[in-house]
Structure formats: C-alpha cells, structure tokens
C-alpha cells in the first residue's frame, strides 16, 4: 500500500474520483475481454495485443494529464486510448473494421487513434512513436501552449535506436514529454534478462541527463502521482522524465500466444497483485462501501456491453473508401 497516497478519510469528491479510476480500469478490462472473445469469433482481423493487467499504467498516467495534453502509445494501446477518453463504441468499431470506427476501419486494433481526445496514435513499429512524441511536445514549446505529451512504450522498446535518439533529443531541447515505460517483463516471448544487460530500465535516463524513476505500475495512485510530478516538471520547462512502471502482461503477447514460456507461479503471483484488485482493496480500506465499489464495476460492464452492441451493428466501409485518405489534396 502506498502510504503517501492514502488519505485518512475520503471526502465525497475524493471518493468519486477514486471510484472513477476503478471504473476506468474496469472499462478497459471489459473492453479487452470482448476483443479477445470476438477475436475467436473472427470479428477481429489479424491480431490483437491485450494490456490486461497493465490498466493502472494507462489510467493512472492519462488521468495525470489535462485538456490539451496528448498521448502516443503502442499496438498494445487499447488501454491508453480509452483512458484518454476515446468513445468505447468507436473504439470497438475500429477493432472490428467498421466504417464508423475511430479510423474508419483503416487502422484496426494496433492503430487506435482519436485526435479529438489527444490520442495521437498507436504505433506498431517498436519505438517508432518516441520521435513523434517529441514532435508533439515540440509544438507545445514552439507555440507556448503549456501542453505536455505522454508517451507509452514497452520494456523491449528501450533496446531500439529510436528510444535513444528520442530521449537524447528530448533532454537536450528540454521538451515537455513524459516517457512512460511499461515494464511487463517480456518483449514478445523473450524475458527482459535475456535481451537487456541491466535490470532497472529507469537507469537508462541517466545517460540522457534526465530523471528516471521506477514505480509500482499496478498501483493506479502511485502511477498518477509519479506522472503528475513529471508532467509538472515538463510544464515548468524543466524537460522530460523517464518513468519505468513495473507491471505484468497477464495474457500472451498477442491473442495467438499461450505464453507457455512463463515460469510456474509467476502469473499467479501477479494476479494476486492485479491492479483492479489492488485499487478495490485500497478503496475498501479507505472506507468506501462495497456497494459503491461494485457499482463502479457494473457501470463499466454496462457501458461496454451497450457500446459493443452498437458497434457490431455498424456496417463495414464501402470499398470505395480504400482510395481516400492517402492525400489531403490531390
């Protein structure tokens, strides 16, 4: 339990806020359960990468942002995109390749993007969005908007060149960006120790002259607090921060990966530290009634169910749409 973030007694406002974090994590969880289920039914094409178990990083970090801030993430991006406020139905619609989907069905599960809420894109080339995150942050500095950009990526992404180029440039130009590394212990099927000579990825920040902090990524309040501090630093013109959020991918890398390579007992250990479970306990200990905790879950379940029904009824794009959106003007 994170003592720093446990108030003695919650005000009504605080209680609502804490329940909202729980509801948001449930929403992502239910959304992804449906993605997994419908993948098996053939509604989801290609592949899909679930962030089950990592919801506290998405929700905690995105709730440390304010309007006008923006975010980029990876192909494992359902959580972050929904946490920014992308509508559930249009997100489902995109995953199912429907015309009213976020990207008109041209992106899919790996590319959920909703500019209306500052979700600037989910990227499926490992590390490729870190340079782009710098660009979004650069615009804020160039125009003096005060906006900050949050960039999510995995532990494995810290071994690709774009990571190093981006942290270096962000630091030398003091760009208002927060790099959130979700260390879920694996890059695809490879445990981190087999690919990476250091254990604490936050240490990589030192090479770029920026603060690096390792946090418990399964505690939503700890994530929110750490990201909020980094955001404040960025807004004040003091430059980027690297946050390493320790978490766990409860499912395989993608829907076709049974994750047989995990040591016995590892999953069970992390299930006992499930972020939704932990925050529920925190709420109970802070004196929130079980009925309210259950209501947050029920609200998320209902919203996801309704959105799913709408999205499944939506049409596929017209074939002619394939020629649109290559050029702004032709």
């Amino acid at each position: 339990m994170n003592e720093r973030t446990r108030p003695a007694k919650l005000s009504a406002e605080e209680r609502a806020e804490q329940l909202e974090l729980l509801r948001a994590m449930h929403e992502i969880r239910f959304f992804e359960h449906e993605c997994g289920r419908l993948f098996a039914r053939g509604e989801v094409r290609g592949t899909t990468h679930l962030c089950e178990g990592q919801e506290a990083v998405s929700v905690g970090a995105c709730r440390a942002l304010r309007e006008g801030d923006s975010m980029t993430c990876t192909y494992r991006g359902h959580g972050a995109t929904l946490a920014m406020g992308a509508p559930l139905d249009e997100s489902f619609g995109e995953v199912f390749g429907r015309a009213p989907g976020l990207c008109g069905g041209k992106g899919g599960s790996m590319h959920l993007t909703d500019l209306r809420v500052g979700a600037l894109g989910s990227h499926a080339i490992v590390g490729a969005h870190l340079p782009i995150a710098n660009g979004a942050a650069f615009e804020a500095r160039y125009r003096g908007t005060g906006a900050v950009h949050a960039c999510f990526f995995g532990d494995g992404s810290t071994n690709i060149g774009a990571f190093h180029e981006s942290l270096n440039l962000a630091s030398i130009w003091k760009l208002p960006v927060v790099f959130v590394c979700e260390n879920n212990l694996y890059g695809e099927y490879s445990p981190l120790a087999t690919t990476t000579p250091i254990e604490r990825l936050a240490d990589r920040a030192a090479a770029y002259g920026m603060p690096g902090e390792r946090i418990d990524g399964n505690r939503v309040l700890e994530v929110r607090e750490a990201v909020a501090a980094a955001v404040e630093r960025a807004r004040a013109g003091e430059g980027p921060t690297l946050i390493e959020a320790m978490t766990y991918r409860q499912k395989g890398h993608s829907r076709t990966d049974p994750a047989k390579y995990r040591p016995e007992g590892e999953l069970e250990e992390w299930l006992a530290r499930d972020p939704i479970l932990l925050h529920g306990k925190w709420l109970a200990e802070a004196g929130v009634e079980q009925a309210e905790i259950d209501a947050a879950e029920a609200a998320a379940r209902e919203a996801v169910g309704e959105a799913l029904e709408r999205a499944l009824a939506w049409p596929e794009p017209e074939p002619a749409a394939l020629l649109e959106d290559v050029w702004v003007a032709s």
């Binding site: 990207c103 600037l120 969005h129 340079p131 660009g135 979004a136 615009e139 160039y142 130009w173």
Partner: protein
C-alpha cells in the same frame, strides 16, 4: 532579375518560406550556426533565430519523427537530412510513419512535412554519399517527391513543398549547386505534378531530371546539329507524376528515351516505360529506351564515376538508335 545559383535559390526559398509563415520551422544537422553542410542555409539562423532554425544531434530518426509529431499538431516542419543516402537511417520514420499515418488514422491527421535532402553523384563523394536515392521512396504511397533541376524549379518546388499539406521529399542535386539562372525578386511557385517541356521537338521524346536533364540538353544540342529535333521533358516531381505531358509528346514523336541517374530496377524511368508500353503500344515506332548507370554502387575514382554516369554521348547514341530502329 538577379542571377541566382541553384544553391542560392534554395536558400532564398527557405528564407521566404520562414518569413511567410511562423508555423514553418527548420531543423537538421548543422543547418543553423554552420549554415548547412553545403552552405544552403547560410545566414538563415542569424535572421530567424534559434527558435525557428534548430541544430539537431546526429539523429535522423529523431529529426524526421519530430517533424511528424509537430506537423500533426499543425506546424509546417522543414527537416533536413544532409545526404540523401542517410535516408536509410530514417527509413522507418519516412516509410512507415510519415507516409502511412494519415491513411491508417482514416484521415484524422495531415502531415505538411518537407524533408530536404542532398542527392546525386558526379562529385567524387563515393558510394555512401552519392546516390540519387529518390527511387528508394518511389514504392511508398503517401509521399510526394520533388527533383528540381534548375534554380527556378528549386525555388518554386521548395515553396510549393512547404505549403503543401502532404509530406514532400525535396531532393536537391549536389552536382547542380552552381548552375545559374536569372530569377525575379519573387520567383513563382512550381506546382507539384507539372512537368516542364524544356525544349520542343518532333523527332523523339527524351525524359530526364536534375543532372541528367542538363546532360540530355547537351545531347539535344549535339543532335540538333544533325537535324534531329529532340523534345526534352523534365517531370520535376516523381510523385505526383505528370504522365499526360509525356504521353502527349510520345503520341507526336513516337519515340521515347528516358535518362536517369540510377539503375533500372524499381525506378521511375522503368515505371514510365512500362506504362507507356502498356497504354500507348501502338503509338511507338521503336522500343522505349532507358539510359541508366550499371547495377553497381556509385564508384569513387573520377574515371569510374564518369563511366558510371550516363553522359551526353550515351544519351545521343540512345536517341539515334531509337530513330534507326
């Protein structure tokens, strides 16, 4: 009118683009304080300051990626990659991010990014600093490619590129920096996708860009002495490509010779010939010819590089062979 070099025209275009719009900024390695590796940006940072003209670390992915992110938020970045050969280092950003972003987000973003690269051989820079790399980018829907061959086109295409709402890669040719031309105080924009008929003629259509355009013009002069009237066309942009102007010309001359500074495989010249053959087979009196360097990297030694690059004699010989068919 002021006599202006190709290099000077590029400098002026960058200055005018920065002066015209505060959303335009310019970044790259040594573009600021040092004035550019080829001195194309001398004096620009002095005039516009470090906020708008930024020296970067040697990080091509970070340069292009920053341009993409900033463009997504409404700025108009002009990013420099010093030598076009280095595009390989930033290839993912260009091929997978810049070109595809708009499409895969269903048109949510527009990316008015211009990338400025120094391209081409003839100056003894060796294999890793001499390639006319524009063909590498040809097979990626979503990128516009400008290949100016004159000071007027360098100015006009740079201005058009920066003002265009889609990504444009602007290749300047290192062999043309000192080519001169009289330009007005305010030279015209050159529309992307509009070829120039450099010289009119009725015997054969020759298509060439950049350094090859100048060599083809030499060949056309020599052939004029023999009574052969070459029609020389410079497409000026490879994407969009002004096929109509070339096709109309071929319909009249019934002969096509394409000259390019790159091996044939997967190139714009080969693509042009295949399309002419497919769509206007019956208009041709001879097989279309492609004058190209051999399938080797660009060599260093003067004698070897000279033998590698197509010259006026090879071009003239290809024209005569086509007419003699």
């Amino acid at each position: 009118m002021t006599e202006t070099t190709y290099k000077g025209a590029i400098n002026k275009a960058i200055v005018d683009a920065l002066a015209a719009d505060d959303d335009v900024f310019f970044l790259g390695e040594d573009v600021g304080a040092a004035g550019g590796a080829f001195k194309t940006s001398v004096g620009i940072q002095e005039r516009f300051g470090e906020r708008r003209v930024l020296d970067t670390p040697i990080s091509e992915q970070a340069i292009v990626g920053l341009a993409i992110g900033a463009a997504m938020k409404g700025l108009r970045p002009l990013a420099e990659i010093m030598f076009a050969d280095f595009v390989g280092v930033a290839f993912d950003q260009i091929a997978n991010q810049l070109a595809k972003y708009r499409y895969m987000t269903g048109g949510q973003v527009k990316l008015p990014v211009t990338i400025h690269l120094a391209s081409g051989g003839g100056a003894g820079f060796g294999a890793q600093h001499s390639q006319a790399a524009e063909n590498w980018l040809l097979n990626i829907p979503g990128l516009k490619l400008a290949v100016p061959g004159t000071p007027a086109d360098a100015y006009g295409l740079m201005r058009a590129a920066v003002e265009d709402d889609d990504p444009v890669l602007f290749f300047e040719h290192k062999g043309l920096f000192n080519v001169k031309e009289d330009l007005p105080e305010e030279p015209a924009r050159v529309e992307l996708g509009r070829a120039e008929v450099v010289r009119e003629g009725d015997a054969v259509t020759v298509v060439a860009t950049q350094l090859m355009r100048h060599r083809a013009l030499e060949a056309a002069d020599a052939l004029a002495g023999k009574g052969i009237a070459v029609e020389l066309i410079d497409p000026r942009t490879l994407v969009p490509f002004d096929f109509a102007t070339i096709a109309t010309s071929v319909d009249r001359t019934n002969h096509l010779v394409v000259v390019q500074e790159a091996p044939a495989g997967g190139s714009w010249g080969a693509t042009l010939i295949s399309r002419i053959a497919a769509e206007r087979f019956e208009m041709l009196d001879a097989p279309p010819a492609l004058v190209v360097p051999p399938d080797t990297p660009v060599p260093y030694a003067g004698a070897l590089e000279a033998a590698w690059l197509p010259d006026a004699e090879k071009i003239a010989a290809a024209v005569e062979a086509s007419l003699a068919y």
